[in-house]
């Protein structure tokens, strides 16, 4: 081995001999080696603020100091400009459906979600980006792009520092948003300016 670092160790040369005790045993087809690691996770400054506000039925976004866009949920950085966000913005718990889909297949780990149900990309009033949520208290086939919605919160005594405080979004009955002006919504590509 010292002479030729690439030569295989002597023990690996030649045929492998199976000990008599296991000769003829059924071959192992698979092994299960569970791996579990636990973490004490801290979400950071921006998400901590956001989650604490959630416990007070408030939704916080953060503003990009370069483009002026408001991001929610906030991560402390503008994902477009790559700068630390310039300020916290309190957003309404109302907005409109920007896009949606209807799920007709159950999910094994979410027995609480009874198909068919509607997941939507909701743009909060004052925000520049969509925000994930369920549209509830309406038949899924009646959901449409531009439909105005408001948050349905858990009862006050059940509020936690969690995005799960919002059970879903229900129609407000207001006239639909007219989505014809992406510049107004603040979603212009800053590289184009």
């Amino acid at each position: 081995m010292a002479d030729d670092p690439l030569a295989p160790p002597a023990a690996l040369a030649g045929d492998v001999t199976v000990p008599p005790a296991v000769a003829g045993a059924e071959p192992v087809q698979s092994v299960c080696t569970p791996i579990r690691l636990s973490y004490t996770y801290t979400p950071g400054k921006a998400l901590s603020r956001y989650l604490r506000a959630m416990a007070e039925r408030r939704i916080l976004g953060e503003r990009c100091g370069v483009t002026g866009q408001v991001f929610v949920p906030p991560r402390g950085v503008s994902p477009l400009a790559g700068t630390t966000t310039a300020g916290v913005v309190e957003l309404a718990d109302t907005g409109y459906v920007d896009s949606f889909n209807i799920t007709r297949v159950p999910i094994e780990r979410r027995p609480d979600l009874k198909p068919p149900y509607c997941s939507a990309w909701i743009v909060l009033d004052g925000a520049s980006v969509g925000f994930m949520g369920l549209v509830i208290n309406i038949a899924p086939e009646e959901v449409r792009i531009g439909m105005r919605v408001r948050a349905v919160w858990k009862p006050d005594d059940e509020l936690e520092t969690s995005a799960a405080n919002i059970l879903g979004w229900e129609p407000t009955g207001e006239p639909d948003e007219v989505i014809d002006d992406y510049e107004r919504l603040g979603r212009a590509d800053p590289g184009r300016a």
């Binding site: 670092p5 160790p9 092994v31 080696t33 569970p34 791996i35 690691l37 636990s38 973490y39 004490t40 996770y41 801290t42 979400p43 950071g44 400054k45 921006a46 998400l47 901590s48 991560r75 402390g76 950085v77 503008s78 994902p79 477009l80 400009a81 790559g82 700068t83 630390t84 590509d189 800053p190 590289g191």
Partner: protein, 355 residues
Amino acid sequence: MSAPMRDVAVVSFAQRQEASIPGESEVEFMVPLMEQAKAAVDLTQADMGFTCSGSSDFLAGQAFSFVMTIDGTGPVPPISESHVEQDGAWALYEAWVKIQCGGIDTAFVYGYGKSSPGWLRDVLATQMDPYYVCPLWPDSYAVEALAARLMLEGGHVSERRLAEIAARSRASAASNPHAVRVEPKTVDEILAEEHVLDPLRPSDLPAEADGGCAIVLAAGDRARELCERPAWIRGMDHRGDAHTLGVRDLTSSMSARLAAQHAGVADDKVDLAELYGPFTTSEHLLIDALGLDEDATAINPSGGALAAHTMMASGLIRIGEAASRIWRGDGDRAVAHATSGPCLQQNLVCVLEGD
């Protein structure tokens, strides 16, 4: 190795290391470093021909965690970008190769790790063989202690020698504002410490830290414009030893020796060396494998990874520390080394020179 086709230099470096950074997410603490590294050479993301990062989902405890941090680069309009699940030194290697390929003159490289949310010694067990070794959950420090036992019993090193390495790191770290373990101790004080993982003492272990660093690379005249005295990369190579610890000779490092040969470490004098040796035993092996003369070469003037060990960044920080000393004129020729994996499994060696 044939000589690199293009002269590429490290022209900017920013770092942060603390025992833990509990209140900030990775992208929150990386954005100021990214801005600092770019601003120091008056560049923006739009000036970067390529961007490459090193980090690990196993530290963050979430999949595709590096994507969150890309937000911090300012990736709109879209950037040319890549990521390695390795120390940032390997991201720098990728960026260096990319510049060698031509078409770009600049690259932005960063590496970061926040190991404090998990138990690092368990997290690192997951880098072992997933069928035979990882299910046993070997404590990663205990694995290093097995190697240390081999070295001591085989006469490859003495406990006093290990204590001397630890004492040197502590003394050097005292002047490094980013070091975590900075209290000076004498060799006798270190030898008087109780073993924690016999034969290893607390001073033999890395000082774990959260943090990261960012570096700007530039080629040729672009580097001369950006930096008064660029730290030119004159050679760089990386090699890996076998994954299975049982087939390796843990009392030496064949891959570090080969990487050093191919990077050209021995071609000229070495004024200083920044070695990523997380344990005193690893630093001892590296000095031997790289063929360094401790009387002629300042070893780990920053204190090294014994003084502050930021997973996924400590190797890239070694390159930044070595380059900074060339900019300042503390030396003309430096060696920076990075490692990855258990018991120095993979090693990268980079030779830096000033004009």
